[in-house]
Symmetry: C2
Subunit: 474 residues, 2 copies
């Protein structure tokens, strides 16, 4: 099957098997909105739990802040002024487009071939109104009630900085994480899994003393690791983290440490090392708040290199802005003086990571005369951990299979029971959703309490006592 | 301490210890928005995980749909037309109020004593615009781009009904759950933890064949359980679920089964049985989609009886509405005919449940000459599972304590390390956040690898070998 075929197959399988569904499809859909079906939601939960555990082990704590926030937050963060795209509109069909590589005034409309004209700048935040929504009393009250859907979870952390500092007993450094929805009102995302208007971010904000920022206490642990790096003004190269930091390309140990950890996390959930690189932003593509920024990129068959994580040094931009707009002191009494902490931020796009996992786990192979489609998820992230089948459609086998199924469910495994169709068909279905083990109950089971366990990737079957099943699945 | 004092103490402790914080406080806050601090987020996560596990064992599956949805969804759901409150405005200070028990035309303004006048009806959904947000082309396009923040997660499930049915291999009944943010743009929530504008719902939609709806296969398991019930037109009484269903007060077994299960869940996380009752809605307070509805109410010291869960029979309202507006067939081929499934819905307000847990877990008691404040969370939901202390501020004890701390963290326990201040002060701090066990490392530990474990509620201390710690904490 050709490359194009393979790509469509991934998306089609994700839809058909209940991973990802275009939202509101019964009303024709809305570009940039996707729902997670039962298997997608399980997969997402696993990745979020692993992520949470990964950063919790750093000693970081998690908070959960609101997705709607008032105007002041985004006045301070700079999003009101700077989070915008230029648009053009077709004079003929009236479609709007974001100005980018292939679309600008002078080019023909991609929809109808008409003439495009400049349509000004559009802020990418979803706007709403908090409280009374008509007959605003005066302009001041109008502004006061303006609300926005957050474009990043980070601002909820910055706005709580003082409380978090106190929670950490007034000591630096400390890290705070948050997983949650964020929003970006794209001008014209068209249909795509990648450019979503509503998406999930998993973000960490590490507050550090700028005077000590260059030193990370565990930098030794990571400095020997080699990564594929693309510096802002250089060529792609495989280099050690230590090297890139000491040559000054990555500005400090803290940023280097977190870049290495991002890579570790991505590999741990099963993104192939060969498909990850770290690319430094050019000065002119950097977000308004960043001093330095590196994207972890995934090499997609369909989209080429695409950002899945950003690791930024936000400096004191956010805390200083909030301090100045709110007149609340954001400084910390450090060793020598009162300083404003700097922020190192790894920011993960969970939906894109899920896309990357689906794409890179998908294999199609010839087995005998058959085409086998399989999602080779790592065992720890597979949505369903095991499927239980009675070999034949007989009551005594079904009863026993139900028993094994219930036993595993009671032990908190996510398991499926299936007794429909041939065994071969049931294996194929589980392969397609990435289930690592299929457990089959046959007549021998009734004799000696053993079952066959078939492993997804090798397709090998072994005989296992029911009492040992939990060990095999873990 | 008097009743009033105790109440304020709960909220104050929740704020001070990092459970719940008023959002955007640096900008003066916004009524109806709260953030979860590090301990609140841990507590919330535990409750959500327990809830998920509870319904997963029913065989239900979870999905995750978008929080923003286009106009059609809420046209079909009836929220555009019916999800509204009447408002009054003060002619003097211009404050808006929701018309309710204590506020209406003819009453004086609660803020300034001025005269109130009718201000019309306000829809309670947050409105936004999807895509291009100025210079709308025509009215049709304007409507097309209208979006709303969902007032319930349920509609995302209904809109995916056909796919979910297919995922369940075209069989009824099946249940689908979702945990996520929902929004209600209250006219004037004032400052309160209870009437939030952004909140978390955990909802289950069970799709059943209306012809078989009255029968639940596991009704036997619950029918003997007694609950405190307030029928729509009757007095509060302790009755068995079986009795209330067979007398027709609860319309069917399915609804009865889920009411009993809601009660089971609430008790399992530690809401005292004596503070739970089920109250049937009167005809005139029922939501526009409900055929029958029961609220699980919590008896709050501060707010009196308040709704924490709703259990509704939504009939075929939602599926029929979506079928009619979208022209998509929502019927199911059942035993005899093509029917539209009915929906039984338990809908949990997670934030209010957390408030209920904080309030009912809070105790203040005299221990010797001291006032002890303690959160008596059940062990399974306590945010921190154990705290590890070196008895004295000596390097050898601190080193060993760090080791024990790291061992427990590696075993996936949520633990804290604390070496600041006296042991008494450290115990008090952990009592206040509800940590069930404090582990102290002393010189005997260095000799024989045993530690003292102090239990929160009894304050009893026992000596435990380090190797047995994990067993004790589980």
């Amino acid at each position: 099957m050709d490359k194009e075929g393979r790509k469509d197959e991934t998306v089609e399988l994700a839809r058909r098997r209940g991973f990802l569904w275009q939202a509101f499809e019964i009303y024709g859909g809305a570009a940039g909105f996707y729902d997670y079906g039962p298997l997608g939601a399980l997969l997402k939960r696993r990745i979020e739990d692993k992520w949470r555990d990964f950063y919790r082990r750093e000693g970081f704590f998690e908070i959960e802040t609101t997705t709607v926030a008032p105007r002041e937050i985004f006045e301070a963060s700079g999003h009101l002024e700077s989070f915008a795209d230029q648009a053009v509109v077709c004079t003929h069909c009236k479609s709007f487009f974001r100005v980018g590589e292939n679309v600008r005034v002078g080019v023909n409309c991609p929809e109808c071939g008409g003439e495009l004209e400049a349509a000004g700048e559009f802020n990418l935040m979803f706007q709403t109104r908090i409280g009374v929504s008509k007959g605003e009393r005066d302009e001041r009250a109008g502004k006061k009630s303006e609300g926005y859907l957050r474009p990043e979870t980070a601002q909820g952390i910055f706005a709580n900085f003082q409380r978090l500092l106190r929670f950490n007993r007034d000591k630096l450094p400390f890290g705070v994480m948050q997983i949650g929805k964020a929003y970006r009102n794209e001008i014209s995302p068209r249909q795509s899994l990648i450019r979503l208007r509503e998406f999930t971010l998993a973000e960490v904000e590490v507050f550090v003393d700028p005077d000590e920022k260059k030193k990370h206490p565990r930098f030794e642990d990571v400095k020997g690791r080699t990564l594929r790096m693309v510096p802002g003004d250089g060529e792609e190269e495989e280099k050690s983290v230590g090297e890139v930091v000491s040559s000054g390309i990555i500005a400090n140990e803290y940023l280097g440490y977190h870049i290495a950890r991002v890579n570790e996390f991505l590999e741990s959930i099963g993104i192939p090392r060969a498909k990850i690189r770290f690319r430094q932003h050019h000065r002119d593509e950097m977000a308004h708040y960043a001093q330095d920024c590196w994207d972890a990129e995934f090499l997609s068959d369909r989209y080429g290199w695409m950002e899945i994580v950003g690791v930024a040094d936000r400096g004191d931009y956010d805390l200083s802005s909030h301090a100045s707009l709110s007149s609340v002191d954001m400084s910390v009494h450090a060793e020598s003086a009162k300083i404003i902490p700097h922020v190192i931020e790894p920011s993960y796009g969970i939906d894109r990571i899920i896309y990357a996992l689906l794409e890179s786990a998908f294999y199609e192979e010839q087995v005998g005369t058959e085409n086998r489609r399989v999602l080779r998820f790592k065992r720890e992230i597979a949505p369903i951990q095991a499927a239980v089948f009675p070999l034949l459609n007989r009551d005594e086998l079904k009863l026993k299979a139900r028993e094994v199924f219930q036993m595993l469910r009671d032990a908190s495994f996510i398991v499926e029971y299936d007794d429909s169709g041939s065994i071969g068909r049931r294996y194929r279905r589980q392969d397609e959703i990435g289930t690592p083990y299929c457990i089959t109950i046959d007549y021998e089971t009734l004799d000696n309490d053993t079952v066959t366990v078939r492993e997804r990737d090798t397709m090998k079957q072994v005989r296992v006592p029911i009492g040992k099943l939990e060990e095999v699945l873990v």
